[in-house]
Amino acid sequence: MGTVDALDTSRHAELLRVANLHAFYGESHILHGIDFVVNRGEVVTLLGRNGAGRTTTLRAILGLTGTRAGSILINGRETIGMATHEIAHLGVGYCPEERGIFASLSAEENLLLPPAVASGGMSVDEIYTMFPNLRERRSSPGMRLSGGEQQMLAIARILRTGAKLLLLDEISEGLAPVIVQTLGRVIRTLKERGYTIVIVEQNFRFAAPLADRHYVIEHGRIVEAVTMAELDKKMHKLHVLLGI
């Protein structure tokens, strides 16, 4: 437990390096040269207004957009030409904005669905200890779960697979404050266990205390990078950029 780092064979400090990433949906050019780096064990947020390109950045990392160009190194391997399922097997776990709980599968079938992509994933028991609600609702159909339960399930099911790079999209969106707090605790626990996490967030107050670094995206480009230490100093600038 908690020895994720020991299982990594590569010595790269950088787990994810995105360079000059362009992405398209059909004819629309959404990302215009995104550059950022995520080091092993870091929690990094992608902030920005709606439509800035944060979700598209996560989807582009997994090859879920249309055409993409530039470079995405995961664990030192170039993935820009790889198929989506091959990228997942480099140890990437994805929690989409709409949560993506399968309605025709039970909660437990949803949990057990994603195949292992690396060794060292959490056991089902560990996951149920972390999310006790899911144990109670294990046989409920996916569509009967509450929003909070669906969100927890969407995170839980990628913890089983051994993925060490987690891409989480808007996990606090539309949830009650008490559930958002729980999710904050979960992110901290995961960080302690050595997971590397990229969070797309609208809720800056949720993300600020969790992250080592923040990147602000505007019009498909990174316009600002803020480390935790610089947070106070750059707060005014962030307020302006994010309109908060």
Binding site: L62, L64, A83, T84, H85, A88, H89, Y94, P96, G100, F102, A103, S104, L105, E109, L112, L113, P114, P115, V117, I158, T161
Partner: protein
């Protein structure tokens, strides 16, 4: 003894015939439902591949001297592989387009395939013998049961139930169900969805070919045998609801029986009863008896 003036023997005879027809409806509509669920393609070639299954068995026997039992495995395998080639080379390009394009392509393919077989074998039909083991009939007390027809019902029900079990109760089936809902996310979890799509299409096609082999000894093997059946099967799919596994099996069997009973009580309506039911279902439950409203 008689029920509503119909002798019991005749009644059971028609019920069995209905059950046999229903078995074919069930197998074919099951394949269509599985293919539509994952590929979003209304596979009009389903009748043609059913016909190809029967011809594969016929060719295996006449050219290679391979009999019924090996053909029951080999013919679906060969036709299934043919289906996978079609999926890889043609259908693949249509997934993002409207259903209509897949329908048109598979309709065109049907015409090409039927034309090919017609130019080689003509339209009169070729006989295929009932395997020795299943010749004759068994007296089961209330009726005389032709062995081969009983086998059709048993074989197709077994295949349908195994398919249902795999899809609804196994991990492989969970991938399939999840892929039907959100293929992109399933692929983002690391599953090779394009391969799964190819194999699913191959399986659906092989299921139709299996039905074709089963049918070969009871009907003349002929190039149009699929076209005659597929229209009714599409009506069955509409009644059952597109995409429901158990729904397509139950509807297929049920409508076969309804057809059989109609032949007993009002033979004039037997060829239209399925379409009348379809019209009523479309008015009352547009998504089909087992379909989910979207």
């Amino acid at each position: 003894m008689a029920i509503f003036g119909v002798p019991l023997q005749a009644m059971f005879g028609q019920l069995l015939l209905g059950l046999v027809n229903g078995s074919f409806y069930a197998m074919l509509s099951l394949g269509l439902a599985v293919i539509f669920g994952l590929l979003n393609i209304i596979n009009f070639t389903h009748g043609a591949v059913y016909m190809m299954g029967a011809y594969a068995a016929y060719i295996l026997m006449t050219v290679l001297g391979i009999g019924y039992w090996p053909a029951l495995v080999l013919a679906p395998l060969a036709v299934g592989i043919f289906g996978m080639v079609i999926e890889r080379t043609m259908l693949r390009w249509l997934y993002k387009l409207d259903h209509l394009y897949g329908f048109l392509l598979t309709f065109g393919l049907t015409l090409v395939l039927e034309g090919l077989f017609r130019s080689v074998y003509g339209v009169s039909g070729q006989p295929y013998p009932v395997p020795d083991l299943l010749r004759g009939a068994t007296d089961v007390g209330f009726m005389t049961l032709p062995n081969y027809r009983a086998w059709i019902v048993v074989a197709s029900l077994s295949v349908c139930l195994i398919t249902w079990y795999v899809i609804e109760r196994t991990k492989l089936g969970a991938y399939l169900r999840a892929g039907t809902e959100n293929p992109q996310l399933v692929q983002a979890f690391g599953i090779n969805v394009p391969l799964m799509v190819t194999l699913t299409y191959g399986f659906g096609v092989a299921l139709a070919a299996f039905a074709g082999v089963l049918a070969a000894p009871v009907i003349q093997v002929n190039p149009l045998m699929g076209s005659n059946l597929i229209i009714v099967v599409f009506a069955v799919v509409v009644i059952g609801g597109m995409g429901s596994i158990l729904g397509s099996i139950l509807t297929g069997l049920g409508l076969g029986i309804v057809e059989g009973l109609t032949k007993v009580y009002y033979p004039e309506a037997s060829s239209t009863v399925v379409f009348v039911i379809m019209a009523i279902v479309l008015m009352v439950r547009p998504a089909g008896l087992f379909g989910r409203e979207k």
